[in-house]
């Protein structure tokens, strides 16, 4: 069954220096499995807040977030931890690899946190590293890897628990353009292979990178300003239209390179980690 994440009237406020700032103002949208979605907008727009709520890193002050029909907005800290561990994979701007762990150990970290023994999951971790093109770096520590390599390790780690949702926060923000492009390709590949259902949501300032995605959501002043299809793929006809969301059918947004939605069937996921080298 394809993933759906429904946000309904989500509000998130922060108190800063005696003032209340509304980071998200009654946001309503749907994230679909099989889509590579980017969230763009100026600094302070609420992009990261939206990402944090999608990944249950934080809880909204009001509103509902339904993950495949399960409400995550009111989860306890313990429940959120379990949810993140099994349902979400994170890719961070600053890689966030543990410096004392080797590449394969970093990939296996979610399993370790889930109570598995490291040795038991080594082969899976190594297979994932192989998939992202780092099969010859499994025993290297982060200090021995380049930025691009570290980010690929981070992507492999995000896939370790085979989560239906991957959240990437400025994944190319710390990389040069060619390395960044490679990471984008990898993320796109992640969203397309392994069958239908996995969603990749990326926060980025890079409009060029955003235009490579299936869908671009623009956030401004805590609200969704636009929700357009991206350059590449389309929303499959079987997926219901998001409530109050928009997919422009035709037309072109001058700010991004967006194209009309073309309805096609998404490829099916085959197995846990289909081999694909980037």
């Amino acid at each position: 069954m394809a993933l759906t994440v429904d946000l309904t009237n989500v509000v998130r406020e922060y108190r800063i220096g005696g003032h209340t700032v509304r980071a998200l103002n009654r946001v309503t949208l749907r994230i679909n499995g099989g889509e590579f979605t980017s969230i763009v907008g100026p600094s302070g727009a609420g992009k990261s807040t939206l990402l944090q709520l999608l990944g249950a890193l934080d809880s909204p002050d009001s509103g509902s977030i339904q993950f495949n029909g399960t409400e995550i907005a009111t989860m306890t800290d313990e429940q959120q931890s379990t949810f993140r561990r099994h349902q979400v994979g994170f890719v961070f701007q600053f890689f966030n690899l543990l410096p004392t762990l080797t590449a394969w150990e970093n990939v296996a970290l979610p399993m370790l946190l889930d109570g598995r023994r490291l040795r038991q999951v080594r082969s899976d971790a190594v297979a994932l590293l192989d998939r992202v093109g780092l099969g010859d770096r499994i025993d290297h520590r982060p200090a021995e890897l380049s930025g691009g390599q570290m980010q690929r390790v981070a992507v492999a780690r995000a896939l370790m628990m085979d989560p239906p949702l991957i959240l990437a926060d400025e994944p190319t923000g710390n990389l040069d353009s060619s390395t960044g492009a490679a990471i984008m390709e990898l993320l796109r590949d992640v969203s397309r292979t392994d069958g239908a259902g996995r969603a990749v949501v990326m926060v980025t300032h890079d409009l060029g990178a955003a235009s490579q995605t299936d869908r671009v959501i623009t956030v401004q002043d805590g609200a969704v300003k636009s929700d357009l299809a991206g350059r590449t793929r389309a929303v499959p006809p079987s997926a219901p239209a998001p409530r109050n969301g928009r997919h422009s059918a035709g037309g072109r947004d001058q700010r991004t390179d967006v194209f009309p939605i073309v309805h096609t069937e998404p490829p099916r996921r085959r197995g846990k980690h289909s081999a694909h080298r980037v």
């Binding site: 990261s48 990402l51 944090q52 990944g55 890193l57 934080d58 800290d77 313990e78 959120q80 931890s81 379990t82 949810f83 993140r84 561990r85 099994h86 979400v88 994170f90 961070f92 701007q93 600053f94 966030n96 543990l98 410096p99 004392t100 762990l101 150990e105 970290l109 979610p110 370790l112 946190l113 889930d114 109570g115 598995r116 023994r117 490291l118 040795r119 780690r157 926060d169």
Partner: protein
């Protein structure tokens, strides 16, 4: 499940410790110091009681009871028949056991009667061959069996107390080694009595009861049969008595070791606090990836437990070594009363208890710090890495700490002023914890003060102040370690100095005698009697105007080993000098006794009450004339007239002579003349030397405690070094930015030193104030324990001592300051 936990700990926590091994080693070393002190102190006390117990068991085996003398003079050998004839006594084995010098070495002389085969002990096993032949020793007159430890060969002749003996047999083996480490001479009873000058007397009678007999009933029956003229107790009684004589030193050294453990706990708190601050990005990442808070927290506590465990183990090993060597260096006043060769005996529970204490201290302190994990939000994983600020702790927690601290102080003051004996010393540790809690309650003010002090050091100080204000909790812990160092040195050196001064002052009257002639050195107890003609011989020396005899002995009163003092008129003994004139008259007339204050308290008697003293000549009921402040180092002192002591305790003669010179006599000449006519084993010294001897004996004991106090200072210096070093590492990028925009190396260096100075000076000032307060409380506690009035006298030298402690701690700030100054700018800026 357990395997997966180990897997996670090994990868995430142990590897972290190995990567930052310097910090881990510093933490382990500090914990190890505490463990070393604890094991050393407990090892020494265990060796004292263990050696005595082991000797008692080696000689008496499974003896049910032991009849021994009330004083060290033993019992009349006619009591043997009485004991053997008591109902339910199966066998009564007479013994002489005393310390001698044989073949130039200290040894144990054991005299055995014909029924020695009743003993089922190492002694019996060692001489089994001889016993099978019908006698402990056969073949030669003056023949003895010697232990292999003396290095004497079979057939050798050697001297004991002027008598030539023949070693007819040399025994070795495990049983012999357990008996005073094979340093013994076994002789027939009569020979042993002759060698020890105990003709007609026995040191003890070992009693074996009939199977099924009630030992309590038999003990009472034997006591009644002997009319209270001897001590009837279990063989372990000797060890218990020895333990009580060591109790004061043990209490004070344990207190110092406990303070060291508190410092280790501070370091554990600090180390955990810094570890969480440093690993914040890692922790937030793990939280973002779905790691549970309680899992992360429990893993951190497991890490703290590991540090505590390793520190406890390493420290225990060193503690065993130090204890092993320390038993040979114990003050003579301590070992003098023991009749066993001191061997190192470590009770089995010492190391596990020490390791457990270290683990508990490390984990408890770390748990307080680990609560900060709750403040690490998973969303931080999305934030750029950098230094963080920390809050000073919840207001509620500080209020609770303030209340708890005040309560602990109130309890301490109550215990100390209630005169509850040695518990008062233990309560001093409570006062320390109470003051620490109060400092936490006022941590905001204290940190502000530290920052204000740092700002006084110019622009570099402004940076140092900002660092202090940004990490208040960490800086508070560092300041507390400096405070602890200053408090410990000021309170310990101050209080012990006050105790020594007060004790010496209480003995001042002994300096009024021109010359002392004694059976022991001025630093030791003179419990042995002088040769009978000594008093007359000394009185006949030209220039001697008057000779006053007195006597000192150890005796058992109830369950306690006390000192007896037999006083004559015109004595300069301090306990006599402090009596009112009317009481002195009564004492000399034999109308009563004076008790030291501590003995009066333990016996629950007051002036005017009647007490019954067990004596070799029967029970004596006497009136307590007064309770007098008097420190003896035992559990108490009983002063009586010399006549009473000689008569009641069957001890003719004197152990000391107080000599007054005739006007105009040359002290040096008379002293020399006296030395010529007394026996070689007799000591002659001036009144001033006698007083110096008292101070010297105390100094030996105090020295141990003072050394421990300065060790605590070193531990605090290590803690400060650790804190500042980690603070520098935590702020690498910030320091790099400062250097990039023009700060010089010298400026950076000064900023760290200013930070340390702010913490150190405030910590030292508070330490001086609290140190003086704890010194006062300790002086009051020592008054209760030492049985003299310890006058609280804060001295100007305390400021110098506190400044020294501060200086040592600040030395710990130099390495981190140097490190900060030498940071590579480019590396530092790119640090995360």
């Amino acid at each position: 499940m357990l395997l997966s936990v180990f897997s996670r700990l090994k990868v995430l926590n142990v590897r972290e410790l190995r990567t930052h091994w310097g910090r881990a080693v510093a933490s382990i070393v500090v914990v190890a110091v505490s463990a070393t002190l604890l094991v050393a102190v407990l090892g020494v006390s265990g060796s004292i009681t263990g050696s005595i117990d082991r000797l008692a068991t080696s000689i008496g085996g499974d003896a049910d009871l032991e009849v021994s003398g009330i004083t060290g003079e033993g019992v009349d050998d006619t009591m043997l028949t009485t004991v053997a004839g008591t109902e339910n006594v199966r066998a009564a084995v007479p013994l002489v056991r005393t310390r001698i010098t044989a073949a130039g070495q200290p040894a144990l002389l054991v005299g055995l009667g014909p029924n020695a085969s009743e003993l089922h002990s190492d002694l019996q096993t060692a001489i089994q061959h001889q016993l099978e032949q019908g006698s402990p020793v056969t073949s030669a007159p003056d023949g003895v069996v010697v232990g292999a430890g003396l290095g004497v060969s079979k057939g050798d002749r050697f001297q004991v107390a002027g008598t030539e003996l023949t070693a007819v047999a040399v025994v070795d083996g495990p049983a012999a080694r357990r008996l005073n480490d094979a340093h013994f001479v076994i002789a027939p009873l009569a020979l042993a009595q002759r060698l020890s000058g105990r003709q007609g007397r026995l040191d003890s009678i070992l009693v074996f009861t009939t199977p099924g007999a009630d030992q309590t009933v038999v003990r009472a029956a034997v006591t009644t049969a002997l009319q209270g003229r001897a001590v009837v107790a279990t063989p372990s009684f000797r060890a218990a008595q020895a333990s009580s004589s060591f109790a004061i030193l043990q209490a004070m050294t344990l207190l110092a070791a406990s303070v060291s453990l508190v410092v280790a706990a501070f370091l554990s708190y600090n180390a955990m606090s810094i570890a969480i601050a440093q690993r914040r990005p890692v922790i937030s990442t793990m939280r973002a990836l779905g790691g549970r808070r309680r899992t992360i927290m429990s893993d951190m506590l497991a890490e703290a437990a590991l540090v505590g465990f390793l520190g406890g183990l390493v420290g225990s090993a060193f503690g065993i070594l130090i204890g092993y060597f320390a038993i040979g260096q114990l003050p003579s006043t301590l070992v003098q009363t023991l009749d066993a060769r001191l061997e190192y005996v470590l009770p089995l529970w010492v190391v596990p208890l020490t390791v457990a204490a270290c683990v508990i201290a490390s984990v408890s302190a770390s748990a307080l710090a680990a609560r900060q994990i709750h403040t690490v939000a998973p969303i931080e994983a999305l934030a750029p890495n950098g230094s963080t600020t920390a809050d000073p702790g919840s207001r509620r927690l500080r209020i609770a700490a303030g209340i708890a601290g005040a309560a602990l102080l109130a309890v301490t003051v109550g215990v100390v002023t209630a005169d509850l004996g040695q518990i008062a010393i233990a309560s001093i540790a409570l006062s320390f914890i109470g003051f620490s809690a109060l400092c936490f309650a006022f941590s905001g003010l204290i940190i502000n003060a530290a920052a204000a002090v740092a700002r006084r050091f110019g622009p570099a100080g402004v940076l140092g102040a900002a660092t202090i204000e940004r990490a208040p909790r960490r800086m508070w812990v560092a300041m507390m370690t400096v405070l602890t160092a200053v408090v410990t040195t000021v309170a310990v050196t101050g209080a012990t100095g006050n105790a020594v001064d007060s004790t010496v002052a209480s003995f001042a009257s002994v300096a009024d005698a021109d010359v002392w002639v004694s059976s022991a050195a001025a630093t030791d107890y003179s419990s042995a009697l002088l040769p009978p003609t000594t008093a007359a011989d000394v009185a006949a020396v030209p220039g001697v105007e008057r000779v006053v005899q007195d006597q000192m002995a150890f005796a058992t009163i109830g369950d306690s080993r006390v000192m007896l003092l037999g006083i004559a008129a015109d004595s300069h003994r301090d306990i006599y000098a402090s009596l009112a004139p009317a009481d002195r008259k009564k004492l000399l007339a034999g109308e009563g006794v004076a008790l030291s204050r501590d003995l009066g308290k333990s016996m629950n008697v007051a002036a005017g009450d009647q007490i019954t003293l067990q004596t070799p000549t029967g029970p004596r009921t006497v009136r307590v004339l007064a309770l007098v402040p008097y420190f003896s180092g035992m559990t108490g002192t009983v002063a009586m007239s010399l006549d009473a002591m000689q008569g009641w305790f069957d001890r003719a003669g004197a152990s000391d002579l107080e000599v007054t010179l005739a006007p105009g006599a040359d002290p040096a000449a008379v002293t020399a003349a006296i030395r010529k006519i007394v026996s070689p084993e007799t000591f002659v010294y001036s009144g001033d030397e006698a007083l110096d001897g008292v101070a010297s004996a105390l100094d030996q004991v105090i020295a141990v405690i003072t050394v421990i106090a300065w060790i605590v200072v070193l531990v605090s210096a290590v803690t400060l070094l650790n804190t500042l070093m980690l603070s520098v590492l935590d702020r690498r990028r910030e320091i790099g930015v400062l250097r990039a925009i023009g700060a010089t190396r010298a400026f950076t260096y000064k900023a760290i030193l200013a930070e340390a100075a702010g913490i150190g000076i405030v910590g030292a000032v508070l330490g001086l104030i609290l140190g003086a307060a704890i010194q006062y409380l300790t002086s009051v506690a020592l008054t209760n324990v030492l049985s003299i009035d310890v006058a609280w006298e804060p001295k100007p030298s305390m400021i110098a001592i506190g400044a020294c402690a501060l200086a040592i701690c600040l030395l710990g700030s130099i390495p981190p300051a140097v490190r900060a100054a030498r940071l590579d700018i480019v590396e530092a800026i790119s640090a995360d």
